[in-house]
Symmetry: C2
Subunit: 365 residues, 2 copies
């Protein structure tokens, strides 16, 4: 490691962030609040995070020369999206403290590897099976899993690379479209609702979880998160304990999100893990003194974690596509308005969000 | 006005800010939250606000060429400190919507002009008299005012340019040190405590005030602000009404701070007006959904003002000089830590602040 790296990263130190979308942008803003500078590395020339970062690099995520210069310029490294090439993370980790680790990333980038990991550490998920489109499938396994969701193992987000499979005939129809992309078949979960735990683990193993929100999706995109979720205290504690077991199992450093299905019987099944700050944790900006963004930077920088207690109930609603055009109306309403500085409105694109809060003891709790 | 100016400034538009200290920095961060870019113009090469701004200009505040280029690059203009040369504001205002106005600035830059303005609109202050050191003074006036504080009319802050005057002999001692700098003698106020109102006025004349905090100073520097202040509801309403009258009288657009002495008899005397966001309003970042920084930008950009209601009680404490060296301890405590990214710690320098909040209904209220 270069002798110029400082760890724990002191105020005035530089955090390198791969990715310049709204998550990188909110990380950079949170860093600035506590005197940490951020250096954003993005392959998009108009990355929203560039506007708020002390330093910027525009380059490909596999440009070894640029990445090496980036690493030398920062004190610690993290990323805002899970599909960073794992070779890139390994290379950066040789230069600077880089979290989450390449191993944590490798596990959570692949739905099959992730589910196998969860099984290994004793965390419940729905039943699943690997599916290799180049073979004819395993009809006896598949039939047991139906109805199911077929998902590509990698690079899926917001419902991309997913198909509902009700019958073997559906499966035979979809398999050719997969070409040779490895996939996983997951038994459909008839859930009561979805929730998530946003939590942080420090390099010292200390773990801190925010209260789980209920998450409402529309067309596979998160629409709204509401905290508290309609969980019993025992369920909420169990969800946090599962997140802790996962973070421990991954030897994780930073903020991660664990998404759950809450079954009609009240059981908790892990749907997926996001090795990063998460849309369902945006409400922490208003309802907690230390947001998920600052918490992540604290973990990455080797700082003590902040208290994750919330002082308010909260409802976060995403502004998707043209919904952001209503900014003047939204600015008139009681709520914290966030706009991500994206130049172009596109259907399905997350343009911003609004968070409304209410007292913990409000009658609607 | 150049045809490229957009007003109201839409998301993606650029706010120009003169001054790059912590106030400019927190303005830029607040702008980023709602999708506004900030262009910081500062005469300090290492201005803390440069690290978080989309655009930066390093130049003198009277460099006409640079200022003109700056104005052409932005959609609206404001400033973070009141000692901007008034010619500069007049020049910028010809190019772009610039607030507060040159007139508001001219009045609040000069303690005598400010107090005359307050008298004219019927707002109570302590008794005062102009003092011209080039003359021998007006002993019969001065004696009536004693004990008093002698202040330079312009460029004073954090107690600089102030002397306590108990006797005419004290006055004779200080006068030569003033040289020919115009000054004002203000009767000493034996106050119970100090408070302030942070409020905003929009271009449409709509006015919104935050609840007044009690302010505690040490060595003339703000140490702590606590909201609610120990005011009666009637006093609090009166303080806000005075701030509204002042904002109206200045035809003010933006956030201003009105500092009050609360006398032992419960009266409110205006001490001074700051035509900008103010240290005693930093707690709005945590205890309100729209902070004073966002509120100022909303007013400047022609947006609707946000609701100023607070959801929590708050105590803000400044980190001055070496106090910021304790960042690791502070990061462990429950509170929102803010560090301003200043490279050098100097005695008396504001390095950051911490805000702690508690429920509105807390027993200590």
């Amino acid at each position: 490691m270069s002798p110029t790296s400082r760890y724990p990263v002191p105020p005035g130190g530089i955090i390198g962030i791969l990715g310049g979308g709204q998550l990188g942008r909110m990380l950079a803003l949170a860093g600035a609040n506590v005197g940490l500078k951020c250096h954003i590395y993005s392959d998009a020339a108009d990355a929203p995070a560039f506007d708020v970062a002390a330093e910027c690099t525009f380059g490909r995520y596999d440009d070894q020369r640029l990445l090496a210069a980036f690493a030398r310029n920062v004190d610690a490294i993290t990323f805002e999206f899970e599909n960073v090439p794992s070779g890139t993370i390994e290379m950066l980790a040789r230069e600077r403290p880089t979290h989450p680790s390449a191993l944590a990333l490798a596990i959570t980038q692949d739905r099959l590897v992730e589910k196998n990991f969860l099984s290994r550490i004793g965390v419940a998920t729905t039943a699943y099976a690997a599916l290799d489109a180049s073979k004819s499938g395993h009809p006896e396994v598949n039939r047991n899993l139906l109805p199911a969701v077929l998902k590509t193992r990698r690079f899926g987000y917001d419902g991309k690379g997913q198909w509902t499979i009700r019958t073997i005939a559906d499966l035979e129809l979809v398999l050719p479209r997969l070409k040779n992309v490895p996939a996983i078949l997951e038994r459909w979960v008839d859930f009561a609702f979805e929730c998530s735990v946003i939590a942080a683990r420090g390099g010292d193993g200390i773990f801190a979880a925010y209260d789980p929100p209920e998450n409402i999706h529309g067309e596979h995109i998160l629409r709204s998160s509401r905290v508290p979720a309609p969980l019993t205290s025992a369920q909420s504690q169990e969800a946090k304990a599962i997140a802790a077991r996962i973070a421990e199992g991954l030897d994780y450093v930073g903020v991660l999100a664990v998404e759950f299905f809450v079954t009609r019987e009240g059981g908790l099944l892990v749907n997926e893990i996001a090795p990063r700050v998460h849309n369902s944790g945006h409400w922490t900006l208003e309802a907690c003194l230390v947001s998920q963004f600052e918490q992540h930077l604290r973990a990455i920088a080797g700082w003590p974690l902040g208290y994750p207690a919330r002082h308010s109930n909260a409802v976060m609603e995403n502004l998707i596509g043209v919904e952001a055009e209503d900014w003047q109306t939204l600015a008139r309403q009681t709520g914290a308005l966030h706009l991500y500085g994206k130049r172009e409105i596109r259907p399905g694109r997350k343009m911003g969000h609004v968070t409304r809060i209410s007292p913990l003891s409000a009658p609607n709790e």
